[in-house]
């Protein structure tokens, strides 16, 4: 009797382990696929052009990933809840202008200015969250409106002129080339991106904020019925996402040593594309930070590699579009298979 019971227990444990392994492999398949595509792209461009696999160029690729990458990190949270954030592009520009204004016209010390820039992003995110969760405005509309508001405010506050930050001591170093790893010249901004990615990853997988992000995206009503304050947490999630927009604004300012008030539109779509290529579902409930990072890298490798091969910019856009379609289609096929 006890023997059979033990055997049953063992069988149960074994079958659980097996199913767990299966689930894990399946869950990481999209990431593996994305990562393999990234490697394949790198390999392809390395063979196609001798200029591609050069330290300077690789560093360029990483640099060009920073701003969209940060935006993509934040918006990953929003997309996993089943929402969308269109305001991150021009919102980043507004944060950039605000950071410059904080540090120059308002004379804040550099560190304080940077912090306020990030917090301003959080404020914008919080407003988005309020509109979506409390006012119940669909996220597409709410953030579309915010996108326009931010674009306008950036111009108003800056007087439509760039705000220069040359005189802020040490500010440029945020972006500048660092010497952290001997022999490899990696810009500080790239380290900031990876640090931000690690923080985002931890937030999403190890904290209750992350758990509710998935839960709300998976089934908002069920989450609410389980006693979770969905309104409060949605506002929190959008606020956290806004921090990344703020950080992107700070970095963008440091990069150009000035805030350019007219830019930013269109970046939100690149960020969303990176998130989607990384396997995050626009329907909500699914996604990962590592996927988003890989997605962002795929976007920059593709653009950079095509430029190096002297493919005109128009065609680069076509290529990026095709890659997005391919990535999403493959993901859908895979899910369909999993269901059957």
């Amino acid at each position: 009797m006890t023997l059979t019971k033990e055997a049953a227990q063992a069988a149960k444990a074994a079958s659980h382990k097996k199913s767990e392994l299966n689930t894990r492999i399946r869950a990481s398949f999209q990431q593996l696929l994305a990562f393999a595509s990234l490697l394949a792209l790198v390999l392809f461009f390395s063979v196609a052009s001798s200029n591609f696999y050069q330290a300077a160029n690789l560093s360029n690729i990483l640099l060009s990933t920073v701003v969209t990458g940060l935006l993509a990190l934040g918006t990953t949270f929003v997309i996993i809840t089943g929402g969308i954030d269109l305001s991150i592009g021009t919102g980043m520009t507004l944060c950039s202008v605000m950071t410059a204004v904080f540090m120059t016209q308002m004379g804040m010390p550099m560190i304080v200015g940077v912090l306020c820039g990030v917090l301003f992003g959080a404020l914008m995110g919080g407003i988005n969250g309020f509109l979506v969760a409390v006012m119940k405005i669909p996220s597409f509309i709410a953030t579309l409106a915010m996108m326009m508001v931010a674009a306008g405010l950036a111009l108003v506050i800056s007087g439509t002129k760039p705000v220069y930050t040359n005189e802020v001591a040490g500010f440029q170093k945020i972006f500048a080339l660092g010497k952290s790893i001997p022999g490899l010249v990696i810009p500080n901004a790239v380290f900031i991106l990876f640090a931000a990615a690690i923080i985002a990853g931890l937030l999403l997988s190890k904290t209750i904020l992350g758990r509710y992000t998935y839960s709300i995206g998976s089934n908002m009503q069920a989450t609410a019925l389980s006693g979770v304050n969905v309104t409060k947490w949605t506002v929190m999630i959008y606020t956290v996402a806004g921090c990344f927009t703020g950080l992107a604004g700070v970095i963008a300012t440091a990069r150009l040593n000035s805030a350019q008030p007219a830019g930013g539109a269109g970046l939100e779509l690149q960020a969303i594309a990176a998130v989607v290529i990384g396997g995050t579902s626009l329907a909500g409930g699914k996604g990962s930070i590592i996927g988003t990072v890989i997605g962002a890298l795929i976007m920059s490798v593709l653009t950079n590699g095509l430029s190096i091969m002297s493919i005109p910019q128009e065609w680069q856009q076509v290529a990026v579009g095709v890659v997005i379609l391919l990535a999403v289609y493959l993901d859908m096929m895979r899910r369909k298979k999993a269901v059957n």
């Binding site: 079958s15 689930t23 839960s215 089934n219 389980s226 006693g227």
Partner: protein
């Protein structure tokens, strides 16, 4: 007299235009499984929603262990020890089993960080305690429906509930799983707990319940001891005797000509071996409880769902129907039960809705002929007596009955000979119902043939020449109108074919573990 675990009395609840519950009462003893039965729409769901804090009653008292309580919201209900397992699952498909069970209550450190290991350990402990086999780390979306049901139950039990309410918990379970569930329930009930068990399966009530409370049309009817009663008695109480139920179809003889013949029809995971014939000029009623598979039969016939077996003959010719458009082209129209979502363009006007399925008829080289659409709409508004100021009225501004008539008109324009009506009078008031009935009879006189799916037995009895009864994805019997009664239909509708035909396998929980 000892205090009851739960006692409710004098409960009233109205929604705009509908009295859902009136003077409802119910009591649940300690260590008791109370079955709650009633026809579709009798008020069971409303009662459950009141108990779980989703609705607030208009009046009435709720007592737990003799103490007056008022239930404010779902969280408060949980705190009072009331847990409910809804018929539709409230699970997060993308989260794991353990994450689902402890959502909102996850073990954490530093106030913000999750401890996944503690979470899984807690879940495993719970599963051992209540003796169910679930993997805490499995993603809920990957589980079978039965396992998801187990997750729901585990979740409810994890709240240390004293009153567990289950709304048709076995609708999706097979016999072995039902046995496991019943074991769970018996383990759960003790001197401080009780279960309210809603089910349509009469054989199950016999097996699991101590008493049975019957409600009908929002009113309390009776409570009987399960041991001292027979199932036909319970069915009698459920159905009651209604004057309107005694009307029968007008003497009109359908011909012997078979217009539709379905043989051995099945779908991959639900319908099994469906065989029937539809005669010209006949109304064939489809009766059965919710989820019995009536709508699925209709969907399979018009090609909305994929067949896994069986053939369909139209006027003696074998046909393969790929999709509803193909069905319509062959003269078979399906009028969905979900008028608002699947039958109408609510934001468009009457004329557009009527012409929608036949736009080809009203256009030349892709350009629509508005005048022709208008005049055709006018004809049908007249013919069907649709009450609308004009054909330009937006559909959503019309009453339910008139909306239904628009849907009917749409299919008449298309000139379908076989019409499948799914709940043709749902959400329609009594007067408009009469008009729809008259209309169906007129259609018969014009030589159309009708399949009518309805959950209202008086309606089925009144209109159908023959009645096909379904239960759990199978046809359990045909009744001619003369021999049919509400009681006989309910008997067939609650027949558990799967377990009565296939001899019940001794289903111990040990067996489950090893497969």
């Amino acid at each position: 007299m000892s205090k009851k675990l739960l006692r409710i009395s004098g409960v009233n609840k109205s929604f705009p235009g509908v009295k859902a519950l009136s003077d409802m009462q119910l009591d649940l003893g300690h260590n008791e499984v109370l079955a709650l039965v009633g026809e579709n729409g009798a008020g069971k769901s409303t009662l459950m929603k009141l108990l779980s804090g989703i609705y607030v009653p208009d009046s009435g008292t709720f007592e737990i262990d003799g103490t007056d309580v008022s239930i404010n919201g779902t969280k408060h209900a949980q705190e009072l020890g009331i847990s409910i397992i809804h018929q539709e699952f409230n699970l997060m498909q993308d989260l794991t089993v353990a994450q689902n069970i402890y959502i909102g209550r996850e073990p954490r450190f530093g106030g913000l960080f999750l401890s996944e290991r503690a979470l899984n350990r807690k879940a495993r402990l719970l599963f051992d305690q209540i003796n169910i086999d679930l993997d805490p780390k499995a993603r809920v979306g990957d589980l079978t429906v039965a396992k998801q049901q187990m997750v729901e139950i585990a979740k409810a039990l994890s709240y240390k509930s004293r009153i567990l309410i289950m709304d048709e918990p076995t609708a999706a379970l097979n016999d072995a799983e039902v046995a496991t569930l019943h074991d769970l329930i018996r383990n759960f009930t003790n001197e401080s707990t009780g279960v309210i068990y809603i089910s349509h399966r009469m054989d199950e009530l016999k097996a699991i319940s101590n008493r049975i409370t019957v409600i009908r049309d929002g009113e309390y009817i009776d409570t009987v001891n399960t041991a001292d009663t027979t199932m036909p008695e319970v069915i009698n109480l459920m159905v009651g005797r209604e004057i309107s139920g005694n009307q029968r179809p007008e003497p009109h003889q359908p011909s012997d000509e078979v217009v539709l013949k379905v043989t051995g029809l099945g779908t991959r995971d639900f319908l099994k071996d469906i065989n029937f014939e539809l005669h010209k000029g006949e109304i064939l009623g489809f009766a059965g409880l919710m989820g019995a598979g009536r709508t699925e039969v209709a969907r399979a016939i018009v090609g909305a769902d994929k067949l896994s077996a069986g053939t369909i003959e139209l006027n003696g010719r074998d046909v393969t129907i790929a999709n509803p458009a193909a069905a319509a082209a062959l003269g078979v129209g399906y009028l969905s039960e979900d008028r608002k979502h699947l039958g109408l363009l609510l934001e468009r006007d009457v004329k557009d809705n009527i012409a929608l399925s036949s736009l080809k008829m009203f256009s030349r080289m892709g350009v629509l002929n508005d005048k022709a659409m208008k005049s055709s709409a006018a004809t049908y508004i007249d013919k069907l007596r649709i009450k609308t100021p004009s054909s330009a009225q937006i559909a959503k501004n019309l009453s339910g009955g008139n909306q239904q008539k628009i849907v009917i008109a749409k299919w008449l324009v298309k000139d379908c000979d076989i019409l499948i009506f799914d709940e043709p009078t749902r959400g329609i008031d009594v007067g408009a119902k009469e008009e729809i009935y008259a209309l169906l009879n007129e259609l018969l006189a014009q030589g159309k043939s009708i399949i009518m799916i309805s959950s209202e037995l008086p309606e089925v009895l009144r209109l159908s020449h023959r009645i096909a009864v379904m239960s759990e994805g199978r046809l359990t019997g045909f009744l001619s109108n003369e021999e049919a009664s509400q009681e006989k239909i309910m008997e067939l509708a609650t027949l558990n074919i799967a377990s009565s035909v296939l001899a019940p396998v001794p289903s111990s929980s040990a067996q489950r573990v090893t497969n």
